[in-house]
Symmetry: C2
């Protein structure tokens, strides 16, 4: 209730509690059936043994959706836990109730200001276009906290927990039609029916990109059983299935969110030829090194581009890809306009599939960043552009917000920008081989 | 001057400028020789062509150290740039002046509140025990901004730029005797005399661990020449030399700072057997997966530990390594004390070399974190302990500060905690084979 109230959800809220007439200032009802209005969704937090009774009341009330936060079911590894879970599945299926959980953190729907979880801190999750579906509540919580800190906009977030009757396949089908969602990030420990998941994904990725992280190694494979009561296949088998289904596979949670962000912001590139532009020389090399590490190639610029760059460059070095933009500074007088011309050159070059611009935070460069945002707003985004800009103590937040409002994803380091772009390239490749 | 003044440096500052009697409220001198006091260090920002004259004045004044921020020397790739650099090297060597640069960002010495760089934002760099030496000013700046955001304490930071007469080998020798430095982080693009660097490192690592990042790939190898005017060897050759010299090699800047932090905080472990403890199940699997990815092994706990864990655990799962601490919650009533017992068990277990504790931010766990900090303060740190705790919008900052004051490095994700620990393990291995 505290989460719902602090999240400023503007729909009606009805606390249900047989022992108290009022909860956090709201009139409470002894049972859900006593509420004199229609109820769209129940959030169930009673003890495990009482969940079947709560569900029966939901069925009588005609509720069609429930998030069961309560744990103590199949994940306990005990026979009684498994039996209790079977009981609620039978009840829910019979009554046509879709269940998120049990053993879920709940549901966060920022566009509806809905924080139906047990952590009030999720009220700070920004509205956006990345849907985040984790198997584990802890991992969902961790990633949402990252999203808050990094200002990654979320369309919907939840952890599926024990997946009574809503599994990854179901939520994917739902998200395919979810208006605010443009990219889907999955944290998967293991599912009972991988084939069903992959078939759903194959359909969904035609309209919305899906990126997935499955922890690798023998322990996660074994542990998935105890944690969510599901048989996990080996990480390698999932890797192959992900690729076949058109899902972009990643190695950890930071990469999961970074790639999902790129996918939500930018179109897939036609190839893997990267142009690296940088306002500083050192970071240009870091970006070039990251391209090498993530298997991207540095584009060989067209003769036309190279000729123009030679005209603009002050020194003979770094006038090719990666392009050290500072090299064009002193010669021209109006360096920001020159930098913009170079950016446009890279975006227009037929030998370039993606452009990364590394622009370490410096207050003197802010007008240039504003020009980049304006440029992005004007042009049709047929070629991905990704920016790397750090923001010490939030100093670069305004211009980063301007870039992202113009559809350009911004990352705090060249390494992360390139890694996100590598995910975008893999998605483009999967989409083409489809 | 703005950087120096905003950084609250408490020593005397003397602006030098022939055209102005006062700069930012301070009396300015026409030349450094006109200053009626001893000068310890000159920060030179005049145009490239004027640098030799400024250095001659420094020599006459008896100054022994200078940071030359000015660029336009060998890094230009022009003959005149190279000649100018040779000229200042000859001048400096003859006068016995040690030069940081030219083409340096300057020097940050937080323990002296000294920010002798062209970025006033470095006033926010916290005092600590990691020395940060980059070849590129942009990379140094980027990493210092990260350090500010992540509250990583720095003992000294600089970029060596063109390394007129102070190279990596020299700064390593200096840092070996630098009282505030406990670990040294290097960003190296390439040096003319790798052998000299490795020989210095071999001596220095006996007392202080060194971790290094060299961007990999053909472009960084080639570009190092144009950027700092030095011939870079191939990344692979450096990798082998780093290992021989006892330097821990890492793959990017985030890992560089994370590993340096672990090295500054904790002793090297005796082996690679990790105990993973977690307050949440999902992150336990992420940590286990990261151990697998970074080549660490999960410790097989001693029979004594396993027996005690079975007594404490509520469910049959996760009572082995990784240890799901929440499993011990409901059975005991006093869960924080039980968790502390489990932590102590892992720290005392002869089959465990390092302990990682994953504790996602939750306000109810704060008293436990305080207990961990108190425990760390009491015991001799003969076995590394690393904590992972996220801090949405800084919410966990107080208890993270308590942990770090007690000598425990804290990372925002299980992945980064494990990766840092892997660096610590590599250092332990290098130290043993020495």
């Amino acid at each position: 209730m505290e989460s719902l109230l602090e999240g400023s959800f503007d729909g009606p809220l009805y606390p249900v509690n047989p022992y108290s007439p009022e909860i956090l200032g709201l009139k409470a009802y002894p049972s859900i059936v006593d509420i004199p209005h229609q109820v769209d969704m129940a959030v169930i937090v009673v003890a495990a043994g009482a969940v079947p009774f709560a569900l029966q009341d939901c069925a009588r009330k005609g509720v069609r959706a429930a998030a069961i936060i309560t744990s103590g079911f199949k994940e306990m590894g005990t026979e009684s836990g498994s039996r209790l879970q079977e009981e609620i599945i039978a009840l829910a299926n019979h009554a046509g109730i879709s269940i998120i959980g049990p053993n879920t953190i709940g549901v966060v729907s920022p566009h509806a200001s809905l924080n139906a979880t047990f952590l009030p801190s999720f009220k700070d999750v920004a509205r956006g276009n990345v849907a985040l579906v984790a198997q584990s509540g802890g991992v969902c919580s961790f990633m949402l906290h990252s999203a808050i800190d990094e200002r990654l906009g979320i369309s919907l977030a939840t952890s599926l927990g024990n997946r009574a009757n809503v599994d990854f396949a179901d939520i994917l089908e739902y998200l395919a039609g979810h208006e605010h969602t443009r990219a889907i990030a999955l944290h998967i420990e293991g599912v009972e029916d991988p084939r069903r998941l992959m078939e759903s994904a194959r359909r969904v990725v035609r309209s919305k990109p899906v990126v997935a992280y499955k922890p690798a190694g023998p322990i996660p494979d074994r542990a998935a059983y105890s944690h969510t009561g599901s048989l996990a296949g080996s990480h390698n088998a999932y890797g192959a299935a992900f690729a076949q289904a058109g899902i972009v596979a990643v190695g950890h949670t930071e990469e999961l969110l970074d790639v999902a962000k790129a996918l939500a912001f930018q179109p897939p590139p036609r190839g893997d030829r990267v142009a690296v532009l940088s306002l500083q020389a050192g970071p240009a090399m870091i970006a070039a090194s990251a391209c090498y590490r993530f298997g991207l190639s540095l584009a060989e610029l067209s003769p036309r581009s190279r000729e123009r760059l030679r005209e603009l460059a002050m020194t003979p070095f770094f006038s090719d890809n990666p392009i050290d933009m500072a090299g064009a500074f002193m010669q021209t007088g109006d360096n920001h306009r020159t930098w913009l011309e170079i950016l446009q050159l890279a975006l227009d070059d037929e030998n370039v599939d993606v452009v990364i611009l590394s622009a370490l935070h410096h207050r003197l460069d802010i007008p240039f960043i504003e020009m980049v945002a304006a440029l992005a707003q004007d042009r049709r985004p047929d070629k991905p552009l990704v920016v790397s800009r750090d923001s010490p103590l939030g100093a670069a937040r305004p211009e980063i917000a301007r870039l992202e409002e113009s559809g350009i994803p911004v990352y705090p380091s060249p390494d992360r920008a390139v890694r996100a772009m590598a995910g975008l390239v893999r998605y483009g490749r999967l989409a083409r081989t489809d």
